[in-house]
């Protein structure tokens, strides 16, 4: 169930299939990021791959017949026609063609008819059709799933393909469950089911005694989590600096060295990052400080190079020192940026209030505190996110009036219009309408939780909120996830008795967050008897999430505010 290994093994197999010799890897844009997420350049060079090309309409015409071409493409119509064009005038000696997903017979025929020179040696499906970010996390890099709160057909297909390829690469044939309240998750579940029955041969997999479960969720059920300020390292970097294909763009920083314009943050290659990926901001600060102190003391020692032995020690350590200091320098700059943002945006105060709103602590004071913070001139996006959280979480009788007045304050503070629109959009986006009785039930639960927290005494007040997904998966592990709300897709042999759970694959339409990834990581660590994989249409931070919200609610007229019980 290791996604990174699964993708890696496929690619290693590709380089082995074609035997020894110089190789070129011909990819499309998506497969390029799929490969680069799991392989470093030096690693792939050792597999005799010396050239990386993208299949585009404007490819170079340099022919190198002495090279073998490993072609790794998504089975899209555009790719097929480009591949046909390539094969009619082949630039390389032999072609080993791999598709990242299921391809139709007609497409194979079309390609075969273009191969007049008989250069193709292999045509295979290798199901590495997703971005493996961590052993337990994948993304499909879909910034937005649809409009009008329903699917964009293209993205529905892409999500289906993504899930199918994850299942095939892990050799899992799961029971499908979906979120009953979401039309989109039902559609996706059905699409996946259709492929199961269409490709019976492929899914005729050897299974253990306990059948895996695929749980399809909708982001609309929990729009709160992506709005909260996260404090673990990876999530924070994504929130404040944005991680894109494992890369962080730092070029906006003044007088930064050119080699740090784009830095790679890849747990597979960067041990320091790997060790600290889930640590919180405070812990990392400590670690960085001790690292720097260590280096400083070393550097200090090196400054007085009186004796030859001093000199020698210095020179011996120098290359390693250089290399380490490169990694440390990268993280120091990132940390510096993070703490700048924290101060500049007043994030400590903002986050504290966010958590209070999200966890229903001291509800009576929320509006007052939001007002106070807005008066402190926090940035537009933080101010409006607070109002959004309030809008999502408050259901009391006068909350509508309060909300209107809060929006008035935003307006008076000259917050940009699109932020205010987003407050309404987020409310349209939210799917859950909490009924009164459910509310009280939830409150009771909340109170117990708070007690539990107080017992621990010094629980981190910035990370009190628990993502809904964590609760759901915990329920699933204990076989307590309600079948009314998360039913099995019909006409699958439903387990009548209490089913056991071992392998779980969770997919979230509308994206996941790195906070949720951390929650799943912790669940995996705490429950060695289960294996949980998390995936989403993308990995969101608050701003990319709000973009998706904006697009998703485009064309939705009815505001949920109107349906509220007043």
């Amino acid at each position: 169930m290791d996604l990174i290994q699964a993708v890696k093994l496929y690619i290693i197999k590709m380089t082995e299939d074609c035997g020894p010799g110089m190789k070129v890897l011909l990819m499309d844009k998506t497969t390029t990021s799929i490969v680069s997420a799991v392989f470093s350049q030096s690693e792939i060079l050792q597999r005799e791959v010396y050239l990386f090309e993208q299949l585009t309409s404007t490819s170079s015409s340099d022919s190198m017949y002495h090279m073998k071409c490993i072609t790794f493409l998504r089975p899209t119509r555009e790719n097929i026609s480009l591949l046909c064009k390539e094969l009619r005038n082949p630039r390389y000696g032999y072609y080993y063609i791999y598709f990242s997903n299921i391809i139709s017979k007609t497409d194979i025929k079309t390609i075969a008819e273009s191969d007049i020179q008989e250069v193709v040696r292999e045509v295979q499906e290798y199901y590495a059709d997703y971005l493996a970010i961590a052993p337990h996390l994948f993304s499909l890099n879909i910034p937005s799933c649809g409009q009008c709160l329903s699917w964009d057909p293209l993205q529905l297909t892409r999500c289906t393909q993504g899930i199918i390829s994850v299942l095939l690469s892990l050799k899992k044939n799961p029971l499908i469950r979906f979120q009953a309240s979401s039309k989109m998750s039902k559609q996706l579940a059905e699409k996946v089911k259709v492929i199961f029955s269409k490709e019976e041969n492929l899914f005729n997999l050897k299974q253990g005694d306990i059948q895996p479960q695929l749980l399809i969720l909708d982001r609309r059920e929990d729009p709160v989590t992506p709005l909260l300020m996260p404090w673990s390292y990876q999530a924070m970097v994504h929130e404040l600096l944005t991680i894109n294909n494992n890369q962080v763009d730092l070029s906006h920083i003044e007088d930064i060295k050119p080699d740090l314009h784009k830095v790679l943050l890849c747990a597979e290659q960067d041990d320091l990052y790997k060790q600290n990926i889930y640590k919180n901001f405070g812990e990392i600060g400590e670690i960085m400080k001790s690292l720097i102190d260590d280096f400083k003391s070393k550097a200090k020692n090196h400054q007085k190079l009186d004796t030859i032995s001093d000199m020698k020690a210095f020179v011996e350590n120098y290359p390693q020192f250089k290399k380490m200091s490169g990694t440390v320098a990268k993280h120091v700059i990132i940390m510096e940026q993070l703490s700048n943002y924290v101060t500049k945006k007043n994030l400590l105060e903002v986050s504290e209030l966010q958590q209070q709103i999200a966890c229903d602590i001291q509800s009576s004071q929320h509006t007052q505190k939001i007002r106070e913070l807005i008066e402190k001139n926090i940035p537009d996006e933080e101010a409006s996110k607070l109002v959004m959280l309030y809008a999502l979480k408050s259901f009391s009788k006068d909350s509508n009036r309060e909300l209107t007045s809060l929006i008035q304050i935003l307006k008076s503070k000259k917050v940009a219009d699109h932020w205010i629109e987003l407050v309404h959009d987020v409310m349209k986006f939210q799917s859950k309408i909490i009924l009164d009785n459910e509310n009280t039930l939830k409150n009771a639960k909340q109170i117990t939780k708070r007690f539990y927290k107080d017992l621990k005494g010094v629980d981190n007040i910035f990370t009190q909120h628990v993502p809904l997904m964590k609760e759901l998966v915990e329920d699933l592990i204990k076989s307590r996830l309600k079948e009314e709300q998360y039913p099995f897709l019909s006409d699958i042999n439903q387990p009548t008795k209490k089913y056991e759970v071992q392998d779980i694959i969770v997919f979230v339409i509308g994206g996941v967050t790195y906070e949720e990834s951390m929650a799943i990581y912790n669940l995996n660590t705490a429950n060695p008897q289960v294996r949980i994989i998390l995936g989403g249409s993308t990995v969101h931070n608050s701003s990319s999430f709000l973009n998706e919200v904006k697009l998703a609610t485009f064309g939705v007229i009815k505001s949920r505010g109107g349906s509220r019980k007043l």
Binding site: H66, I102, I108, K171, G282, N524
Partner: protein, 445 residues
């Protein structure tokens, strides 16, 4: 985790335990608690005892959790695959047959056209038309390739090989010399004058493509010089990885057992490996220096060089230095003593103990070897040029390190050493300048 909270954001002062608000003064907190949580208070009290013990437990668990734990899953096996090659071949075979027929037809026509080709343009046209039937221009109003209609500016042209009508843009030209080449005849002498006057045949793109493909197939098997070098590199590499390294490790282990007779053998293997590594380095460098006309081949050669440097580094660095004869004899001596001791004390009694101590010695020996492995470059004394200035001395030492590092293929170290040398150089010149002003203080750093 509790500690984490403290480290992260230190919450100090008079906090309300329930709502986590800082009240600054104890009195305020007290009042707040009375007001806001008076009901809760009873609740808290009643729960307090109940949870007192639980709390301890929870906290302990948390501390336990703080140790870095990762989930470990069994190793991933490769996922499902599905091959379509059989079906692909089936489809391709049908098509290739069709294509071969087409090619043959075209080539035969070309042969006919070239046979007894008249020099005069008018006669040539009749000759061409007798061999290939030309389509009637009246029937064709649009170019079949680009579907644009013919008019005064877009005139009709006939393909000399299939007789179809195309526009100028959708046609290509086949030079006579090349045409002869295609049918495996060299242009005859008497025709050279002709080639100048009428340079080529007009063809439609389709026929052009057919001939072009045929040409290409001829060139496919040509291998550039780079391939020879590369094959040699791979040969060297295979020899190192599949043969020499294994042998070396075997002899090295024997040496560690105290078998001094293998020392020359090990030295020989070691130098063989280094020689092959040098060869790889030289060959890949030669590939890099090859003339490359295209961008892709430039990138390729650069990457090959990069990969080979990595490979050389990892193999050469993986070979440990050999122990000296004296050290081996020491090991042998120790082993003998151990054996004797074992003989002296009853075998059964002390067996575990001895084996333990032996393994201990082994491990210390390993450590020693390791240390030597890592201790890098040593300053060569004879290189110390007599100089009063310590900076000059240091520069000389570094120069020596560079030399040694180069010999050991540690190129990244060479680079950093060179940078270091550069810095020292600058420092030295600065000092020289300073000392010009203040003679007598030249050595002060």
């Amino acid at each position: 985790m509790t500690e984490a909270g403290e480290e992260n954001i230190v919450l100090e002062g008079f906090l309300c335990p329930i709502c986590k608000v800082d009240f600054g003064v104890d009195l305020k907190l007290f009042l707040h608690f009375q007001e806001a949580h008076s009901e809760d208070q009873d609740l808290v009290k009643s729960f307090k005892d109940l949870f007192g013990k639980a709390k301890e437990k929870i906290l302990k668990n948390d501390i336990g959790k703080k140790e870095e734990r990762h989930y470990v899953w069994e190793p991933q096996e490769i996922g499902e695959v599905q091959s379509h090659f059989q079906y692909f071949k089936h489809c391709r075979n049908k098509w290739v047959e069709h294509f071969v027929m087409e090619t043959n037809k075209t080539v035969v026509r070309l042969e006919k056209l070239l046979c007894n080709l008249p020099q005069d343009p008018n006669k040539r046209k009749t000759h061409e038309q007798t061999i290939v039937h030309w389509l009637d221009g009246k029937d064709v109003t649009r170019c079949p390739d680009c579907t644009k209609s013919f008019n005064i500016t877009r005139r009709q042209h006939h393909c000399r090989l299939c007789g179809s009508i195309v526009c100028h843009e959708c046609s290509c030209f086949l030079p006579l010399a090349k045409a002869y080449e295609t049918i495996n005849e060299t242009a005859k002498n008497q025709l050279t004058s002709l080639t100048q006057s009428s340079p080529s045949f007009r063809l439609c793109v389709h026929c052009g493509q057919v001939l072009e493909n045929r040409e290409q197939i001829k060139y496919r098997d040509l291998k550039p010089l780079m391939c020879d070098y590369y094959d040699k590199i791979i040969e060297c590499r295979n020899k190192i990885e599949n043969d020499l390294l294994i042998k070396f490790n075997q002899t090295y282990n024997l040496l560690k057992e105290g078998e001094s007779s293998y020392l020359t053998e090990a030295n020989r293997i070691r130098s063989d490996i280094v020689k092959l590594a040098e060869a790889i380095d030289a060959l890949s460098n030669r590939i890099l220096k090859l003339e490359n006309d295209t961008n892709s081949s430039k990138v390729t050669t650069k990457n090959i060089r990069l990969a080979m440097i990595q490979c050389v580094q990892s193999t050469v660095l993986a070979i440990p230095a050999l122990p000296s004869l004296k050290e081996i004899e020491e090991i042998a001596q120790r082993k003998r003593e151990a054996a004797e001791a074992r003989l002296r004390n009853g075998q059964d009694l002390d067996k575990p103990k001895i084996s333990q101590s032996v393994s201990k010695r082994h491990s210390t020996q390993k450590n020693e070897i390791k240390l030597r492995l890592e201790d890098g470059w040593s300053p060569v004394t004879n290189a110390n040029v007599n100089s009063d200035n310590p900076v000059v001395e240091q520069m000389n030492i570094i120069k020596n390190y560079i030399k040694q590092a180069k010999e050991a293929y540690r190129f990244d170290e060479v680079a950093s050493l060179e940078r270091n040398l550069q810095e020292l150089n600058e420092e030295y010149f600065k000092m020289q300048n300073d000392s010009g002003n203040m003679p007598g203080y030249s050595t002060k750093n």
